[in-house]
């Protein structure tokens, strides 16, 4: 389903895999929190920050089985705009999960903040890729990115096991902590929570 949304007030949005093509236009000095939970699907997301003071915190979480690509692009079209992207994926089987994440700050768009944090956990031998791009054409900008692809740390698993959790339950806890962002009420997750428990 294609979603085009114009936002002019502080908003919290919950999206799922049916929202595979999303365009958000944030047209005022407001803050938008997005929580996007996807099961085994590609996604294309474009966020346009069109008004000074506009802020988006985009939390994208995906459970992947086959070959899928997630493309997220943020366009800072005004000065003093902020984007924070948190993209977490779990690649369960042998498919390929790719994150293409672009933060774009054109010339003269001063005092922008453009951050992205990307992590993919490979449960088995799947291939994953992260392409974090920060296309910054302005000096007065704060911009950070991080990218991690790998397994859960064995030291974390050991810590949980040392407190009585079986390996299976320890991984479940780590998966929930990784895929469900802080502050999200579990009752809105529905099938997504069940999917985590079945990994």
């Amino acid at each position: 389903m294609k979603m085009n949304k114009i936002i002019e007030n502080d908003t919290i949005l919950y999206l799922n895999q049916d929202d595979f093509e999303v365009v958000l236009d944030i047209n005022s000095n407001c803050k938008v929190e997005v929580y996007h939970f996807v099961i085994n699907h590609s996604s294309s997301i474009m966020i346009n920050l069109n008004s000074e003071g506009a802020t988006v915190n985009y939390h994208y979480s995906t459970i992947n089985y086959d070959d899928h690509e997630v493309k997220i692009e943020v366009n800072h079209k005004e000065k003093n705009t902020t984007s924070n992207l948190y993209n977490h994926g779990v690649n369960v089987k042998t498919g390929r999960l790719t994150f293409l994440v672009n933060g774009i700050v054109p010339k003269d768009m001063v005092r922008c903040i453009c951050n992205q944090e990307n992590q993919i956990i490979n449960i088995s031998d799947g291939k994953s890729a992260i392409c974090p791009n920060l296309l910054i054409d302005c000096y007065d900008v704060i911009s950070n990115h991080s990218a991690y692809i790998g397994k859960f740390s064995l030291e974390k698993v050991f810590y949980l096991e040392s407190r009585g959790f079986s390996k299976k339950i320890a991984y479940q806890l780590l998966l929930k902590g990784f895929l469900i962002f802080e502050g999200v009420k579990q009752d809105i997750l529905g099938d997504y929570l069940l999917e985590i428990e079945n990994i």
């Binding site: 096991e161 040392s162 407190r163 959790f165 780590l174 902590g177 990784f178 962002f181």
Partner: protein, 254 residues
């Protein structure tokens, strides 16, 4: 309670021997301390006792209440009542302390934990440890200071009620006041649970002034080279390991 017999261990996928023909017996209600210089194998011993994935047992056995636990999973050792308070507790993002602790209690008890009792017990322990009440809603050890991490280990200990406690360098990262608070909480626990045994792993005797050991062992090159009482720890503080000549003893033996 716990007995280690002729244990030899090495690092997985390496030839390096960490413990060699190691023996130790700890009875119910006893407090033992293991001291030793850097690299002696003290922290490794604690991890091996807990079944850490990075070490292979080559020979020997570990018994807990006469059950051979040498090859038992870490989680099963924990459920038997062994607790390791770690030197550098790991951060686990996204999992709150309260969710983690309640589920851990359920895993160890094997039954549901009443929410009201859990909250009451938790609040009382947090207050006893002088921890901030909001820490319970934060992710495990995330953004915690060194002292808060150590107090969180003791909070877990008090909630999970183990029978055998390993304190791996509990005093590192703790200021004097925090060390007193943490040790008085452990002493209180031992008073309430007199059968509980403790193994304290430490570089310095300071912690032993607060939790007095029945026995002090000096570990070097994966072997116990001397055993004594609290006076041995005091002597080590005064003269150093070289000064009491225990490191020389192992060299002579070799």
């Amino acid at each position: 309670m716990l007995e280690i017999k002729n244990l030899s261990c090495k690092v997985k996928d390496h030839e390096k021997i960490i413990l060699s023909d190691f023996n130790l017996k700890i009875n119910s209600g006893e407090v033992h301390a293991i001291m030793g210089p850097n690299g002696a194998g003290k922290s490794t011993l604690s991890k091996i006792m807990m079944g850490h994935y990075n070490y292979d047992v080559l020979e020997g056995n570990i018994y807990f209440n006469d059950e051979d636990i040498t090859n038992l999973d870490t989680s099963k050792r924990a459920r038997l009542g062994i607790f390791l308070a770690m030197q550098d507790p790991t951060v686990i993002s996204g999992v709150s302390n309260s969710e983690f602790l309640r589920e851990a209690m359920q895993e160890i008890k094997g039954e549901k934990v009443n929410l009201y009792q859990f909250i009451t017990q938790m609040n009382s322990n947090i207050s006893d440890l002088h921890l901030s009440s909001d820490m319970i809603h934060r992710s495990i050890n995330e953004g915690f200071s060194g002292g808060e991490k150590k107090k969180n280990e003791v909070l877990q200990l008090k909630m999970l009620k183990p029978k055998f406690i390993i304190l791996d360098e509990l005093d590192s990262g703790l200021d004097v006041d925090s060390l007193k608070i943490v040790c008085s909480n452990i002493n209180e626990y031992l008073k309430e649970n007199p059968d509980t045994a403790v193994l304290i792993i430490t570089h310095y005797p300071r912690i032993l002034e607060y939790i007095q050991p029945n026995y002090v062992h000096v570990l070097n090159n994966g072997k116990i080279v001397q055993t004594g009482d609290f006076s041995l720890a005091k002597e080590i503080e005064k003269k150093g390991y070289q000064g009491i000549n225990v490191l020389g003893k192992i060299d002579e033996n070799e």
